[in-house]
């Protein structure tokens, strides 16, 4: 039973990580590329780590919950690194593709 749960969680996690990387390659400009890694990869990792948690709880000695620490850490830091990246992209005046709306909402930084 636990084996099925671990397998499903692992496959979901692998798919999400793969989708995040596909988004990184496929999207036409930087701001759209950022969406894949900040969201899909984070959930993929959370799913993989939950699988690891179930795996070590059932095979090892006793309950193992420390994997949840990495999930929490990634969940907390993903938006921050995304924010830093988009801030440096705006600072370097990277081009977004032409059909992007509301580009005049970006103000020049000091």
């Amino acid at each position: 039973m636990a084996e099925y749960i671990i397998s499903i969680l692992l496959l979901i996690g692998g798919c999400f990580v793969l989708v995040g990387s596909i988004g990184l390659v496929k999207m036409p400009d930087f701001f759209m590329r950022l969406h894949g890694p900040t969201k899909a990869t984070t959930l993929g990792m959370a799913s993989l780590l939950t699988a690891a948690m179930v795996f070590f709880s059932t095979t090892g000695e006793g309950l193992s919950v420390k994997e949840i620490l990495i999930s929490i850490f990634l969940l907390l830091t993903a938006p921050i690194s995304g924010y830093m990246l988009i801030k440096s992209a705006i600072h370097h005046k990277l081009d977004s593709i032409e059909r992007t709306t509301g580009k005049d909402n970006i103000e020049d930084d000091v």
Binding site: S21, V25, L48, A52, F55, H92
Partner: protein, 89 residues
């Protein structure tokens, strides 16, 4: 069954690492490369956890945690360098 699934997920993570590497090499801008590098960090955590599972040992957990922390700090430091031309002001 679990061994097969772990192998499949290994392959998935490997493909994502290759895709990230492509973005890292092609660019075209510096933030793109940093983003690719950050994603590679996270994917390598996944690889380490999977390796630990296939070996049946929880020893690699600390390594994964350290990579997560160093990856985040280095991403923020490089972004800060891009923004200000300086890391510690």
């Amino acid at each position: 069954m679990l061994e097969t699934v772990i192998l499949i997920v290994f392959a998935m993570i490997g493909i994502s690492l290759l895709l990230n590497l492509w973005r890292l090499v092609v660019g075209p801008s510096v933030p793109d490369r940093i983003l690719a590098l950050d994603t590679m960090y996270i994917n390598s955590i996944a690889l380490i956890i999977l390796y630990g599972m296939s070996m049946g040992t929880a020893l690699y957990f600390e390594a994964a945690l350290l990579i997560a922390m160093l990856g985040f700090v280095s991403t923020v430091a490089v972004c800060k360098y891009l923004l200000r031309g300086d890391i510690i002001e």
